[in-house]
Each structure stands twice: as structure tokens, then as C-alpha cells.
């Protein structure tokens, strides 16, 4: 019997967000297959440490920044001979447009950062297209594996009858998510029988509540401990994100066969083939008219079977398996972990 391929996933984001859930899902495959052994290591962002990992393949889910670049260099130097893969969970074209003041410097960071790895994994096809168009790394070095979580519980959410009346915004209350624009656009819709349920918490909450003031159709539901329960109560999910590397909420909503309308931006574009619909442009008028259009339709959709039959989880896990197996040839023997802090 051959030894399983040892893979260590390095994470520096331990919040309950997307990265954690995606790595959880990868780790869950340990239970069903024996060729690859996944393990998670939490590291402090940017901390300089010499760690030679007991693994054949090292997968970085780390943040690439000027501050963390030395630690990434050290990671490579300490693990000579091992295959290094980086998953880019954050950066996209619209992220740069909204958050970066010196594009050239930033692109130089990404080119340098990406050059340390044998492979770069993009979490959406749109993100991969941008990496290549912006020449951030060579096209043959990028693999696209659309992020995923266990979607089975979402597929079991019952359909809702009747017309589309309850719209949901689900996510951190942060300017990235664009709920401010959504609330203004929703208020501009005259229909009295529609509702907007906002699930989530965050620093924008006060601002969003002020924007919604006076409109009793809008309700703030707080953090949705169970996104499944949240989705069960609503007809339509709206994602007016200003940037989004992929958008797990999108595949959860589509798996539950909820109508999904979102911004035509970054990784959200990947959901088109699954039935996502888009605002024509990012303006109050376009968001309002999309809400009105969806309201005038019957709930549910003829595409139900298409959506629910897409085995996104299987595709995700098998792509990871294939990518890691490719690395097997190139990896070397595995000495024990030695860790000594430089700083």
C-alpha cells in the first residue's frame, strides 16, 4: 500500500468566512478517500518563521501583501523541493478598482508573490481571466477551482410557492457587499407587498439602518447563524457586491433554487451558467428595475433540475484531487516538522 500524499493547508484567516468554510470542505474529503491526507495549519499573518512542513504539497490560503511577502519568501526557502500552491481568495479586478491607489505597485506585489508558487489557484474563471489579462502570472500556471462548500443541505431546502415577494441580502454589512445601494434601490420600488430581509452584521450596520429608516418593508435580521434557515424564508437573493472573488452565497442560493440577482462583476460572473441574473449596470435605477422585474414573475424556476443536478461539490473535490496528484511526481521525501522562530 502506498503512503497517502500529504497536503498542508496554510491559513491566516480564522474568521467564520469563506476561506475557513472552503478549507473545511477540503478537509472533509479525508473521510471519503485515502490517497490524499489534508491537514490545516494556522499561521500568523506575515510572521517570519522557518517551518519545514511535513507534507508533500503546501497549499497557501494566505494573504499576499507587502507585509507578508517576506514570510512567503521564507516559506519557500524553508521548503525547498516541495510543491507550493497558492489559492487567491481575495484579489480581483474590482477589488483593485475599489481599494488600491497605486495599481502598478500592487500588480508588482502580486507578480512577485505569485512567482513564489508552482501553481496559482483562482477561485473563479473571471478571476483567472483577470490574472492572465493583467499579466499577473502566466496562463499555464493558473488552475481554476471554483470555491465550494457542502451544498447538500441547501439542495434540501423546500421550494416556496407563490410570487417572489421576499428579497434577501446575506453577508457582512460592509461596503464591499453594496447593501447601501440595494436599500436605496429597494426604497425606490413602489410595490407595497415586497420585503427586504438583511442578514448579517458589520460596521456598516448603523449606516444601513439609517438608509432604511422609515421603510417598514426592510427588516434587519442580524447574523444568520444558519444560512440554510435564512434561505428557507426568502424567495430571492440579491448580491449587489462591489467586488467578489467568487461568492459562496451565490451557489448556496442557487442550490436552494432561489432566484439570484447580482452585480455583473468579478467572480459573480461565474454564476451565470448556473442561472444567476445580473443588474444591467451598477446604478440605483438598474437595481430597482431588476427587483421590479423579478417581482412580476412567478416564484421558482423551470431551471430547478439543472441547478440542483450540478454536482459543484464533486467537481470541486475532484479538481483538487487532480491538481494535487499532478504535484505528486514533483514532490520529494518528507522530513519531520522543524520550527524555529526568526522573529
Amino acid at each position: 500500500m502506498t503512503c497517502p500524499l500529504k497536503v498542508v493547508h496554510l491559513v491566516d484567516d480564522t474568521t467564520a468566512g469563506g476561506v475557513t468554510r472552503v478549507v473545511d470542505f477540503i478537509l472533509s474529503s479525508n473521510a471519503t478517500q485515502s490517497e490524499i491526507r489534508h491537514e490545516r495549519q494556522i499561521v500568523s499573518r506575515g510572521k517570519l518563521q522557518v517551518t519545514r512542513y511535513d507534507a508533500d504539497v503546501i497549499v497557501s490560503h494566505l494573504t499576499v501583501s507587502w507585509r507578508s511577502l517576506p514570510s512567503l519568501l521564507l516559506l519557500k526557502a524553508s521548503n525547498v523541493g516541495k510543491r507550493l500552491i497558492h489559492v487567491e481568495h481575495s484579489y480581483t479586478e474590482a477589488f483593485v478598482a475599489h481599494n488600491v491607489t497605486n495599481q502598478r505597485r500592487f500588480f508588482s506585489l502580486l507578480r512577485n508573490g505569485f512567482s513564489l508558487f508552482d501553481r496559482i489557484v483562482s477561485v473563479s474563471f473571471a478571476q483567472a481571466d483577470w490574472f492572465v489579462a493583467q499579466k499577473l502570472c502566466a496562463g499555464d500556471k493558473v488552475s481554476t477551482i471554483q470555491s465550494c462548500v457542502d451544498l447538500a443541505p441547501f439542495q434540501d431546502i423546500p421550494m416556496r410557492d407563490g410570487p417572489a415577494r421576499i428579497f434577501a441580502a446575506i453577508g457582512r454589512l460592509d461596503r464591499q457587499k453594496g447593501f447601501d445601494a440595494l436599500i436605496v434601490a429597494f426604497k425606490a420600488c413602489a410595490a407595497e407587498d415586497i420585503r427586504l430581509h438583511v442578514f448579517g452584521e458589520g460596521e456598516e450596520e448603523e449606516h444601513l439602518r439609517a438608509l432604511a429608516a422609515g421603510d417598514t418593508r426592510i427588516e434587519f435580521k442580524g447574523f444568520a447563524a444558519s444560512p440554510i434557515d435564512a434561505l428557507a424564508q426568502v424567495d430571492v437573493v440579491i448580491m449587489p457586491s462591489r467586488w467578489e472573488a467568487y461568492g459562496l452565497v451565490a451557489i448556496e442560493a442557487l442550490s436552494a433554487n432561489r432566484t439570484l440577482i447580482c452585480t455583473d462583476v468579478d467572480g459573480l460572473r461565474d454564476h451565470k451558467s448556473l442561472g444567476a441574473e445580473f443588474f444591467e449596470q451598477y446604478s440605483i435605477g438598474c437595481i430597482s428595475s431588476k427587483i421590479a422585474e423579478v417581482r412580476s414573475r412567478a416564484a421558482g424556476s423551470a431551471k430547478e433540475n439543472d441547478r440542483r443536478s450540478k454536482p459543484l461539490g464533486e467537481i470541486f473535490l475532484s479538481k483538487w484531487q487532480a491538481l494535487l496528484s499532478e504535484q505528486q511526481e514533483a514532490s520529494v521525501n518528507r522530513p519531520a516538522i522543524t520550527s524555529s522562530e526568526v522573529q
Binding site: A97, Q103, S283, I284, G285
Partner: protein, 326 residues
């Protein structure tokens, strides 16, 4: 495939189009196609183009009148080049212009929009000795919002990928995508440039030189200022949700520059009352133009005041020497 597509929107421009086409065909960089979009002209525009088609780089596309944005969109949709340049049918390019932009974009993969300064000329193609000399480097979205360094519709040469990134298709549009917003009849340029700057990662950067000759019409400039202002405000309303913080920070200053620009146009039209009104509106909005461009702002204030108090005689000698626009 041509390396560059040059889009020439053409609406009833039989008189000026030959000069434009001759200037484009005389470019030192030769691997291009010219797409003249005859936007429902009722004059001899199409025949003029046919007269140039002995050069097989010249293509004619005829459509019902869709306006400047609609003509540019059709040009972009039909373009085969990886780079797309624009030249209005009454402007001209210096022979080296295309070559310089091609090299600039080749050397700078992060730059999506390359542009140059312009020299102003009158209806007889006589250089007025006045120039648009915009900011060239480290261009941020606020620079585009406030002072639009691209300056005019014949200045930019861009990557096709920039347009791919902002393409959209209204539900009622059956033929092709939109890049410029065809619902705008003015401010369509600045709306598109600002949308690119606020939603994509492409850099804007200028090259040295006044490589475009931009034609100024002598009359009727300020007649449309109310409409121009209204379309500028429409642009702000439309784009604000993309990045509210950006607009909170820069909107007042940009509006102040906009009023100052309209004041300068009113000065050019010797309309003292309107010029002074716009000067006051500009100063009420923000003092940024005074701080950022003191000479030009003071010059505008003084010119508007002189025009209002003394009358057109106070400025006529300057205007005759200096042309009418900026």
C-alpha cells in the same frame, strides 16, 4: 487582423472628414483599420468614405442615427484590433500619434487607456496656439472626475480588454453590447472614463506631446450649458452607487471644476452674466480649484468679472489671439 482599430464616428461631416481620413492614413504606424461609423448622415459622408476605400484599411459601417455614444459602440463592436483608438470626424492626428501610443501600451502592460494632449485649431484648420496639456502620470479616478485628462474624444488609444471589462447589454438592445452609455447625449465620454476608473484595474496614462488636433467651433458654445450640466449631474447620480465614498470625497470639487469650465465657455461666448453666475457657483461648491489650480481659477474669475462689468470690449483682444476653449 489589424493591430489597431481607429473608430471615426461620422454624422454629417462630409466637409471635414477628408482631412481626418488623410491624417489617419498618413500615420507612421501602418497596421490599422479605420472604421468610419456613418451615424445616419443625410449628407455625402458615406460617399466621402467610399472615395477613400481604394485603401483597404478603410471600412464604412452605416447605421441609423444613434448618437456619438452609439456610433462609438458600433465601432468598438466591429473592431478587430486589440487596440482601439478614437478620432472624431473633424479632428486630426499628428503622424506619430498612433506609433507613440502603440509603443506606450506595449511597454506598459498595466496601462489600459493611453492618451495625449491636444492642440486646438479653428474651423479653417488654423492652429490657435492653445493646447490641452493634461496630467499624464499617476492618474487617479478623482483626476478624471475633476479635470478629465483625456480632454477630448480624439485623444485616447485603448486596449480592447478595457471595453470587454465594462461591456453590458440593455434588455432592449438586440444588436450588440454597449460600452458608452447611449442614453447620454452629453458627458458620454467622462461617464465612460469614470466608470472604467471606478470599476476596473486598468491604469490611465498620458504620453508627452500634443498629438491630436482638436477643432473648436466658434459659436453657440454656451447655449447648451444647462443641458451639459444636467447630463453631468445625471452621470454623478448614475455612478455614485459604485463608490459612494469616492463621490462623498470628490463630488463638490468636481462640480466646482465643472462650473469653472462652463464659466470659461461663457467667457468665450462673451456672455458676462452667465460667466459670472458660473464663477460664483464654482466658488460656492468648493475651493479646491483655487488651491489646486490658482492661476487658471483666478484668470477665470477676473475674465468673468471684466466681462460682466466692462463688457465684451475688455476681453476681445485676448480672445482673438487665444481661441475659445479649455
Amino acid at each position: 487582423m489589424p493591430y489597431v482599430s481607429i473608430v471615426v464616428p461620422a454624422y454629417n461631416v462630409a466637409r471635414t472628414l477628408p482631412e481626418t481620413l488623410r491624417a489617419l492614413l498618413a500615420q507612421s504606424f501602418v497596421d490599422f483599420e479605420i472604421l468610419v461609423i456613418d451615424d445616419g448622415s443625410t449628407d455625402e459622408t458615406a460617399n466621402v468614405v467610399r472615395g477613400f476605400q481604394s485603401d483597404d484599411r478603410v471600412r464604412l459601417i452605416s447605421q441609423r442615427n444613434r448618437g456619438l455614444a452609439g456610433a462609438r459602440n458600433s465601432g468598438i463592436a466591429a473592431a478587430r484590433g486589440g487596440l482601439i483608438g478614437f478620432c472624431d470626424a473633424d479632428d486630426t492626428w499628428e503622424p506619430e500619434k498612433l506609433n507613440i501610443h502603440v509603443r506606450h501600451l506595449h511597454a506598459n502592460p498595466d496601462v489600459g487607456v493611453s492618451y495625449s494632449g491636444s492642440a486646438l485649431m479653428d474651423e479653417e484648420s488654423i492652429q490657435l496656439g492653445r493646447y490641452q496639456s493634461p496630467r499624464l502620470l499617476a492618474v487617479r479616478p478623482e483626476h478624471i472626475f475633476k479635470r478629465n485628462p483625456i480632454g477630448n474624444g480624439s485623444a485616447p488609444v485603448m486596449r480592447r480588454a478595457v471595453f470587454d471589462a465594462i461591456a453590458y447589454r440593455p434588455a432592449f438592445e438586440a444588436e450588440r453590447d454597449w460600452y458608452f452609455d447611449e442614453t447620454f447625449r452629453q458627458s458620454e465620454d467622462i461617464e465612460c472614463w469614470l466608470r472604467i476608473a471606478l470599476t476596473t484595474a486598468w491604469c490611465f496614462e498620458g504620453v508627452e506631446g500634443h498629438l491630436t488636433n482638436y477643432r473648436i467651433n466658434a459659436s453657440g458654445l454656451s447655449a447648451n450649458t444647462d443641458r451639459q450640466l444636467a447630463s453631468w449631474e445625471n452621470m454623478v447620480t448614475k455612478l455614485r452607487p459604485i463608490n459612494p465614498t469616492f463621490f462623498d470625497t470628490h463630488e463638490a470639487a468636481a462640480r466646482s471644476y465643472q462650473y469653472r469650465y462652463l464659466a470659461r465657455r461663457a467667457v468665450s461666448d462673451l456672455d458676462g452674466a452667465r460667466a459670472w453666475d458660473h464663477v460664483l457657483l464654482s466658488l460656492q461648491q468648493s475651493h479646491r480649484p483655487v488651491l489646486e489650480e490658482p492661476m487658471k481659477t483666478v484668470q477665470t474669475v477676473v475674465a468673468a468679472a471684466a466681462l460682466k462689468i466692462v463688457g465684451p470690449g475688455a476681453l476681445r483682444p485676448f480672445l482673438l489671439a487665444k481661441g475659445t476653449k479649455s
